[in-house]
Amino acid sequence: MIETIRTVAIVGFILVGLFFTLVSATGVIRLPDVYSRAHTASQADTLGAGFALAGVALALGFSTTSFKTVLLLFFIFITNPTAAHAIARAADEEGIKPWTTDDDRTDADLYEEAMADE
């Protein structure tokens, strides 16, 4: 009985993790510019990896290895925002204007603009 619940919980965690990773991938494709895409990149890492690692920890049971997955999550939580910030900061330094709702440029326009600059 306990084993069944555990298996269900493990599968559940991994599925939720997969769901958020999928959402994050969708976001990277659907969102308009580099800043908003950087938002969803952090989703994959926080909840996507978070739930997946929770599933892994549960599958391994109470051992040092499962403790290491917690540590892993801790390090992801420190490095992920740093990377997102570095991307956003680099974009800002390049002078990229964030997309706003009254901005009707499409990806093709932006690409041409960028090519024209070179």
């Binding site: 769901f19 958020f20 959402v23 969708t26 976001g27 659907r30 969102l31 308009p32 510019d33 800043y35 908003s36 950087a38 938002h39 969803t40 952090s42 989703q43 926080t46 909840l47 040092t64 403790f67 290491k68 540590l71 939580f77 420190i78 992920n80 925002p81 740093t82 997102a84 910030h85 956003a88 900061r89 974009a91 800002d92 204007k97 964030p98 997309w99 706003t100 709702t101």
Partner: protein, 379 residues
């Protein structure tokens, strides 16, 4: 060459005497000159009297030396002193470089001369990045005084102390044992001690800037309250953003915003901007001093940011419960929407009454533990 002006940033250093001598000699080589001695205040103090006194003494001593050296030359030497950054918050090489550059341009200096062991007191050794930052400006040249006979390179362990080494030793030993899987096996303990000792001696200079105090464990405890809170916030906004992304119409309204959170010190600031970026919907783009430029994806995330919940939680972790009660950035007038990251913030533009009022209010509620915000206690 009457407009020969040299700016010399000074800090407590054993080579000051030498630097002054060099500055005077090179400045007076071709005619009368002006020497401007400045002291740049390190970040974590709010007008601490003893520190200001020390700076005044240092500058006074330096001007006496300069006068002494100047007498040997025919050309006339004018000496000015100034203290910078007393009312600002400078915590990165570029902040300090900007302050020095601003002063140099205002006073028309055409040369900035550094002491070889100049250290503005913000932690890690910093002269190289500082010189690099200042090289961006064309108005003046940047130079480093040659290390004279009396100049000593800082000894390997001089910047650190026993409590710092001890703290890093304990942290790395515990970490090693966690990875080692069997902490009771003698081999792991011996290798653990050896590696922890190497880490402690090698990295103690760059890890802590101050000795750990009794505040540190208290903060660690408050951290354990903060982490579940942060997780809750992350899950909440993750669901919100997931709904937005999967919505067929993609109802986003991205805007750049700028806030000036009421946290002080590089570690609390790092913790705050890290948390802001971890929460989907808000992304820290730029941090200048205490000003944080944040990109927000949806209005709900923006409201949350302006309401300052995370900021309050960070204050709770670092300064204790009473500090959490400071009003939100929106109420303080320290939050705004911006169109371009280049435009100056509203609280810098007008030095008018509203910001002053907010400033005062803030000092009143300022927590007493302020002056040791830099510890690396992020376990």
């Amino acid at each position: 060459m009457s407009d020969n002006r040299t700016l010399v940033p000074l800090s407590a250093s054993s080579t000051n005497r030498n630097t002054i001598e060099y500055a005077v000699r090179t400045a007076l080589a071709d005619g009368p000159a002006t020497l401007r001695l400045v002291y740049v205040h390190p970040p974590e103090v709010h007008a601490d009297d003893s520190r200001e006194q020390a700076a005044t003494d240092l500058l006074k001593r330096a001007s006496v030396w300069a006068n002494e050296d100047g007498e040997q030359f025919d050309a006339e030497l004018t000496i000015e002193t100034a203290q910078l950054g007393t009312d600002e918050y400078l915590f990165s090489p570029s902040d300090i470089a900007d302050t020095i550059a601003r002063d140099a341009i205002q006073t028309g200096a055409n040369r900035v001369l550094f002491d070889p062991s100049y250290d503005p007191g913000i932690g890690a050794p910093l002269l190289r990045p500082l010189e690099y930052e200042l090289a961006r400006f064309d108005a003046f040249t940047v130079e480093e005084a040659p290390a004279g006979r009396s100049a000593r390179r800082t000894p390997f362990l001089a910047r650190t102390s026993l409590p710092q080494i001890g703290a890093i030793f304990v942290i790395s030993f515990v970490f090693y044992q966690i990875l080692a899987a069997d902490p009771t096996y003698w081999f792991e303990i011996v290798t653990g001690v050896v590696s922890a000792a190497i880490v402690a001696i090698g990295l103690s200079q760059v890890t802590f800037t101050r000795n750990p105090t009794w505040q540190t464990p208290a903060r660690l405890v408050r951290h354990t309250i903060y982490i579940p809170y942060l997780l809750k916030e992350i899950i909440k906004s993750n669901i919100l953003i997931a709904a937005v992304i999967l919505h067929p119409k993609l109802p986003i309204d991205p805007r750049m915003t700028r806030i000036r959170p009421a946290v002080w010190g590089s570690l609390p600031m790092t913790a705050l901007s890290n948390s802001i970026t971890l929460t989907p919907g808000t992304l820290a783009v730029r941090i200048d001093g205490r000003t944080l430029t944040v990109h927000t994806l949806v209005p709900a995330a923006r409201e949350g940011l302006f309401a300052g919940d995370l900021e309050r939680a960070i204050r709770f972790v670092f300064y204790g419960r009473e500090a959490a009660e400071i009003t939100s950035p929106e109420q303080r007038g320290e939050a705004e929407l911006i169109d371009s990251t280049d435009e100056p913030s509203s609280w810098e533009q007008d030095d008018g009454a509203p910001t002053d009022a907010a400033e005062e209010e803030r000092t009143d509620t300022e927590p007493p533990t302020m002056n040791e915000t830099d510890e690396g206690d992020d376990t």
